[in-house]
Symmetry: C2
Subunit: 207 residues, 2 copies
Amino acid sequence: MHVAIPLYPRFTALDAVGPYTVLAFAPGWTVTFVAAGRGPVQDDQGSLNLTATAAYAEVPRPDVIVVPGGPGTLEALSDQALLSWLAEAHEHTRWTTSVCSGSYLLGAAGLLRGLKATTHWGVLDGLTSFEAEPVSERVVEQGRVITAAGVSAGIDMALTLLAKATDAGTARSVQLAIEYDPRPPFDAGSASTASPELRAAAMNLIH
Amino acid sequence: MHVAIPLYPRFTALDAVGPYTVLAFAPGWTVTFVAAGRGPVQDDQGSLNLTATAAYAEVPRPDVIVVPGGPGTLEALSDQALLSWLAEAHEHTRWTTSVCSGSYLLGAAGLLRGLKATTHWGVLDGLTSFEAEPVSERVVEQGRVITAAGVSAGIDMALTLLAKATDAGTARSVQLAIEYDPRPPFDAGSASTASPELRAAAMNLIH
């Protein structure tokens, strides 16, 4: 199974690297980071550079696409090279997926019309601009289109996808290999239970 | 607060990028990826390249060190440039931390003598080689030395560290910003409850 993860300036690193690590650990799976051209792409913090090892034109038919989110999504909404590649590659994928605001890019490529979808809690309502129905869930499956909530949700999405694409045993072995037995020190990760003050403080960190 | 994350060939990407994302989101924190020289460093899957933007000599006094693990740890145990930098920088850090087999490198630099420490479940016993006491916990704090269990445990460790270094409110806001409300699709991430077959299958994925 060949997975392509498109990178664009100011993506959020964990959106890409969470699913990457899950899927790249699976036996027989390969993952390629793609962009308009080969070379390093800088993240939203300006301090991490991940290398795109192939241009879009070199990876026209991936089996799986994982689109990361990040503050750079806004500019990427008018990146025609990315959107055209997404729309064309999607015609042949087995799964087309996103993490966080990456679903906005699926939407801009016309892939979410009439579908339920999710994204980061802070920008959930905006999915209606793409004729999608916003759903506040960790992972939303709509046939071969799967969207995940904010940043860290990509890990859960990738394990879910891996189980569908292979079998539960493979997903479980990867989960144990990456010791994904999460123990967050606080119960603060869900917007549904956060105070307005905490939500404001969190949104303040995203830029 | 300035965080340095050393990279070496065949590190595991999520070990580095999990804590990176948590700490880089915190207001006033900056993170630098360091290595023997500037340039891209390839991960354990051979398909991800993360750029070291500074050489060790350029970052002699970070406030925090986070050492990732990975299959490349074995070769890195004889990387004198890395081990010397770790030992010298540690004298001045506020916290020196590791994820997964990164604790072996802390051990090889002489930083775990007489301390409790943890690492990936598959290599836990080996910590005794460094005169450390292996502990099967998600995050182990010993003063300013903090070690985390395998791969994904770095996210929990970084949130714990962030709360200690700043306050619980800051850590909670970052947790909400990255929507870290984990919902693993399987209960398979802990070696303590895994079958021998699942443990063998997971270890088979690590190479």
